[in-house]
Symmetry: C2
Subunit: 399 residues, 2 copies
Amino acid sequence: MVERFKHLSPPARLLLGPGPSMVHPRVLQAMSLPLIGHLDPEFLKIMDDIQQMLRQLFRTRNPLTIPISGTGSAGMEAALVNAVEPGDTVVIGVNGVFGARMAAIVDRCGAKSIRVEAPWGRIIEPASIEAALVQYAPVKAVAIVHAETSTGVDQPLQEIGVLCRRYRALFIVDAVTSLGGMPVNVDGWGIDLCYSGTQKCLSCPPGLAPLTVGERALAAMRARKSPCPSWYFDLALIADYWVSAKRVYHHTAPISMLYGLREALRVIDEEGAAARFARHQVNSAALTAGLRALGCEPVADEAHRLTTLHCVAVPAGVDEAAVRTALLHEYGIEIGGGLGPFQGKVWRIGLMGESSTRANVWSLLSALDNLFLAKGWVERAGLALEAASRAYSEETGHK
Amino acid sequence: MVERFKHLSPPARLLLGPGPSMVHPRVLQAMSLPLIGHLDPEFLKIMDDIQQMLRQLFRTRNPLTIPISGTGSAGMEAALVNAVEPGDTVVIGVNGVFGARMAAIVDRCGAKSIRVEAPWGRIIEPASIEAALVQYAPVKAVAIVHAETSTGVDQPLQEIGVLCRRYRALFIVDAVTSLGGMPVNVDGWGIDLCYSGTQKCLSCPPGLAPLTVGERALAAMRARKSPCPSWYFDLALIADYWVSAKRVYHHTAPISMLYGLREALRVIDEEGAAARFARHQVNSAALTAGLRALGCEPVADEAHRLTTLHCVAVPAGVDEAAVRTALLHEYGIEIGGGLGPFQGKVWRIGLMGESSTRANVWSLLSALDNLFLAKGWVERAGLALEAASRAYSEETGHK
């Protein structure tokens, strides 16, 4: 027996970047259970449980509510290639990396993407969407990102949902960084297609993309003139396996990932949505206060700031990459850098799912306090911790 | 705390169907390790190890040798949507479900699929491929399945590889049910694009599709007139993350699945290819002898019979579905039924990776012996076990 590759031994990391987030031990344990077949009657029950818990989380009655067998970006691709046909016009909100990615996929579908842009860090104004709906009518769909992972912006959706009904456009929403960490209300907000990823607020490893499809979107898919360009992501075929009583084999389901997702959803179900969202809110407020005390201002304005992903400007004179490297190698803490035009200018700090705890906020802020003090970027120790402490007191009402 | 969904507790199963196969405990353990980020320097080393071991298994020097973030069918789609453009002509061997699936994907690419058909259970004759290469010249690619999971046929590839060079067509091979269980020689057989799945002979859970891309295929991709229709499967973007020194973020890698794949490849590396293929050969011969003693004849002729997946005809008078149900519920053993025209007519029995052991052969054959005897389908007990025992003696030279 020759052993040429070392025993797998990943270092301990506190994951506070834009994903993956920390995973509950119960989820890791579920992933290590022995496999059963993807057509085993016992597996079909697991699939049913997952669908039921996903519907609850998406707040929808859509029968077609399933995890796509790929990462969050696979969910984006699945939503768009099924809904959009060559020649369609699609209005896309672009105020960060992920809106731009939606537009790129729409272009590859042979459709016309109309980019409604806003500066990075700002929301897309519903009035701009309406102007595009009027100017480019008929519009097949409006696609927008709920929680922009590249900027930390919380995009209001309800008004755009109303506009989509009024102008008979499908409403497609990217909930990758929101689902499970803040309210997502698919039926209440008139969303026709919504997808997410498992590695953010669901605190499950990356590899699955929860997706829900409403009746208007299904009708549009049934009315397609050309087949869906993707066989792997063809929702009609996938629904025959996941939803229809026939359970027709399409592709071999990723069994272990689905074990993990079921357990992650069960953990969420036990905590309850209200408690979970409140936890994200409180820890986010404390983190933001602490970062501000170090001179790190959020990019998004207060009314539209995510509680799951914090994008803050790196203060002038601070070495952005050196801080991230020191956090990773000296403290075992991962945070993210900026993407695209934000490269070198911001940090992206996730407090998503299991990562959103007081202990983690303290760990990160005290590490930053230390690093900033050692470099002379702050005048005295404890600034961030004091600010966070005050914020926790205010948030929880115990002054 | 409300617990509305039961603790996850899948039943113990012996997986002897067409996949997933049994998974080594070390692989399950690896999948339960805490996560690190997909851009963590330590994770990049894990990616490098995986690539190196995959190259060894595929027998290739191709730098672009990676796992696609989806199941085996995602590997098929990734290979085809990158290699094939609208208007191209692609010759496809169709003698089972998976050849037909390739043709369906090629059609969705807007290309012309030329189906070179053979009856289910027979190989595609190289002469038929050559005739199509001549008749439909110029042909962009020839696509064929190495190990047809729907029929148990082992397709010879070397001669077709020579033809592809002669007629300047790309050679695309589906090695889903062969890689890791029998020889696959990408460079030696002139294969330009080859993909597999993790849940068969690699004995890793389903969810990843190993893929290798040679220089001729890369040149064809670079020369495309239209962009790859899939953003998620665009190999140029994926290579920027997996292969280029820049490690440009594309999508969040499925960390835990990659932990599992690395360990599965390490298990394979330790056993060694020759020993592993010999193990599959011996257990396959014994299983086949045992099944024959029960009147279950292989569909494929002896010269082209897989050692990884056994497709055998159900004898007249035997209740196909009842046997599978009894195996699953009374013995905890999963085997597969037939697909398409073979539905109700064959069983598909996998001895892939960790599933290919003497103990498993004995378990299945003794269960079948029992079931057949109880129903009066055989005259006396022990027929299958005696035949398998003789086969083992012959195979191992100890008579």
